[in-house]
């Protein structure tokens, strides 16, 4: 299979972010380091440091949303584990979906360092009070969707996440470094799986193209509303939580995907996709942001289904969690006696 251009570069950026984190830790700050001084010096804020309320609240919102996305994201892919067409693909998919649960847990742990409890976070997801990435509200209709999700959705996620490895909040930056390193195989397996389909039988090729047609614009929408309409961006950039604007990252993603699509032999469903010599970037058609807002507000094709699934798992597991808690309490009493 041809190399995935860009993937190595992104992984290199994760390594650089990790090196920068260590390097920043070596630089001592003079005297009493205020929040602003730490941010200005590109150092990390740590859990018990003083921080503005809005910084804390914004991070909780962002990390929680990120964690929820990992957890809900298990469903569309989990949907195909039972039908994976070879045992090798079954193992890969199962490991990938399992990683998503793990990444959700790393991120919940990072959010908890900001003073919110896991129970509060669970409730916020189950009641729909906190959101998750709108992309997971689209259905996975064929096996090729596993490839398209790996290539486009994980690809977009990595473009979004790599800069977060440099986020000013230490626990989030460290969690993201771990997540990005582990996810590097996710995008590759997706691309490779799609490549095999695109070289396969006519039915497989049609399946691959159909999946790309359906996932392209929702993937572009993953970078959020255009910069002009983005509510949280400016402050988030000043606090070095976010490092690039939505549109910058979206452009970076488009530029990465076009040559990758050519190697795959699939067509990206955008007639306006052309190289702009002047800008040094590809011109492209923006996703339908009205659709994005509808999906974010809960009217995506699978929004209700995904949340109902999560609630059902939570309710069905209640008796098990109660049993484990009761057992632990009995054992504690025995130790005390």
């Amino acid at each position: 299979m041809p190399a995935v251009a860009g993937a190595e570069r992104l992984l290199g950026e994760v390594e650089e972010a990790e090196a920068a984190l260590r390097e920043a830790a070596e630089r001592a700050l003079d005297g009493e380091a205020s929040f602003d001084a730490v941010i200005a010096a590109d150092q990390k804020i740590e859990p018990r440091d003083a921080m503005p309320d809005a910084y804390r609240a914004g991070l909780i919102r962002q990390i929680a949303q990120h964690a929820h996305s990992e957890i809900i994201g298990m469903q569309p892919e989990g949907n195909w584990i039972s039908r994976a067409p070879s045992l090798r693909r079954k193992a890969i998919l199962l490991a990938k979906v399992q990683d998503e649960a793990g990444h959700g847990l790393y991120l919940y742990a990072a959010a908890e360092t900001l003073g919110v409890s896991r129970a509060e976070l669970d409730t916020a997801l189950l009641t729909g009070k906190q959101k998750y990435s709108s992309i997971f509200n689209y259905p996975t209709l064929s096996w090729a969707d596993m490839g398209a999700i790996g290539w486009l959705v994980d690809g977009a996620a990595i473009v979004n996440q790599v800069p977060l490895c440099r986020c000013s909040y230490g626990p989030y930056a460290r969690a993201m470094i771990r997540v990005c390193k582990e996810e590097s195989f996710h995008q590759r397996q997706g691309y490779q799986s799609l490549y095999v389909l695109a070289q396969g039988t006519p039915e497989q090729r049609a399946m691959a193209q159909d999946a790309v047609d359906r996932w392209w614009y929702p993937s572009l929408a993953m970078f959020g509303p255009p910069d002009a309409d983005s509510t949280h961006s400016a402050q988030s950039m000043a606090w070095k939580v976010k490092r690039f604007s939505n549109d910058e990252l979206r452009q970076r993603f488009v530029d990465m995907c076009v040559p990758q699509a050519e190697i795959l032999g699939v067509t990206l469903p955008d007639p306006n996709l052309t190289w702009n010599e002047l800008r040094g970037h590809y011109d492209y058609t923006s996703p339908d942001f009205d659709e994005l807002m509808r999906v974010v507000k809960g009217d995506g094709p699978c929004s209700r289904q995904r949340l109902a699934h999560r609630n059902r798992a939570h309710e069905d597991g209640a008796w098990v969690r109660e049993a484990a808690a009761a057992y632990a309490a009995k054992k504690n009493r025995k130790v005390m006696a």
Binding site: G102, A109, D122, R321, K331
Partner: protein, 94 residues
């Protein structure tokens, strides 16, 4: 996933000869389960040869407000570091 499930901090020894380092945290009703979940969560890619789990509530941490009084007094005790001592030329193994 209910409010009572305690939080555990996880420490992993990556290889023989290295110290346990903090890997992250997780929720579990008791120590045995915390240890097993830690194995599944933090050593999926052979990241460790030994794991500790510690109830987060049992950790006593220094406060950032006391940072100066706690750590700055050590700053001027440079004689604790070997580089403080100049040695005559030719001395080996010291």
């Amino acid at each position: 996933m209910t409010s009572d499930v305690p939080l555990w901090e996880v420490f992993v020894r990556p290889r023989r000869g290295l110290a346990h380092t903090h890997a992250g945290s997780l929720h579990a009703p008791d120590a045995d389960m915390a240890l097993r979940h830690a194995r599944d969560l933090y050593t999926r890619r052979q990241e460790g040869v030994s794991i500790w789990v510690v109830p987060a509530a049992e950790i006593t941490a220094s406060s950032p407000d006391e940072k100066d009084s706690f750590f700055d007094p050590a700053a001027d005790k440079i004689y604790r570091h070997p580089t403080f001592y100049e040695l005559p030329e030719g001395v080996a193994h010291l």
